[in-house]
Symmetry: C2
């Protein structure tokens, strides 16, 4: 076993931890958001991302990247949210192939209602993870992450 093998194993171990923590949080969030606000985690993520883009808009393709979704899944996701009146499509003037999306007042309101749930569940899930020996170090690292923007 050489140094290189160790590095590989450390990466694999890190990935397993990351995946485990992600799974734990996502499952908790999914249940809570679904039960309380009829939103999936991706849907919440999209609404949140849109609310965060103050003054400027995201194109479908950017949204797709942000949500780690394929092109057609994004179309359908946006369509779903649009039909629920949570966001609107806007043709962009400069490149009329592109499509922007924007939160409607209803969307902002739902997001505002949902955010406390989201934050609470996230806090709880992290606390639970912190109590799990294998996950605790990663949770710790997460807290120490430089606060970007």
């Amino acid at each position: 076993m050489g140094i290189a093998d160790d590095a590989v194993e450390i990466r694999a171990q890190g990935w397993r931890t990351l995946a485990a923590l992600h799974g734990l949080i996502e499952t908790s969030l999914e249940r809570a958001l679904q039960a309380g606000h009829d939103l999936s985690v991706v849907e919440y993520t999209v609404l949140d991302a849109l609310s965060r883009q103050d003054g400027w808009h995201m194109r479908m393709s950017q949204l797709a990247r942000a949500a780690a979704l394929s092109g057609s899944a994004t179309t359908r996701l946006v369509t779903r949210l649009e039909q629920r009146g949570l966001l609107t499509r806007i043709l962009c003037a400069d490149d009329r192939r592109g499509i922007y999306t924007e939160l409607t007042p209803a969307g902002s309101e739902l997001l505002a209602q949902t955010r406390p749930t989201h934050d609470r569940v996230l806090t709880d899930a992290l606390a639970e993870a912190e109590a799990t020996p294998e996950l605790a170090p990663l949770v710790d690292a997460l807290h120490r992450l430089p606060a970007a923007r």
Copy 2:
């Protein structure tokens, strides 16, 4: 804006970063494993977990937790892998509700063939993430994680 609000925002930011990194890695792995070895990431995870349990067996429910899957999803996953001859079900003698699973030689071999791909793609994905400003700190933290076990 108080201190508490900041903490909430930091957690949310951390979660977004975690989710983004997870999505990036998972997507890369999924493509590569699917294309090269006809395995999904969960399937690989399960085989890997089984191979790691040397001498000792996992029950379905433990497997479910390890893969962040529901009970029934686990049933079908195991069924799938069993039908491909990669693992076998073993009824356990002491508690006949329980079912153990064990890698077959074919399963071990496929895993051995797949592992290099997995490691290479993981390395590449992490390198790519390291080049992304928002993700780099987390990747860094991952490398520094105390090596468990």
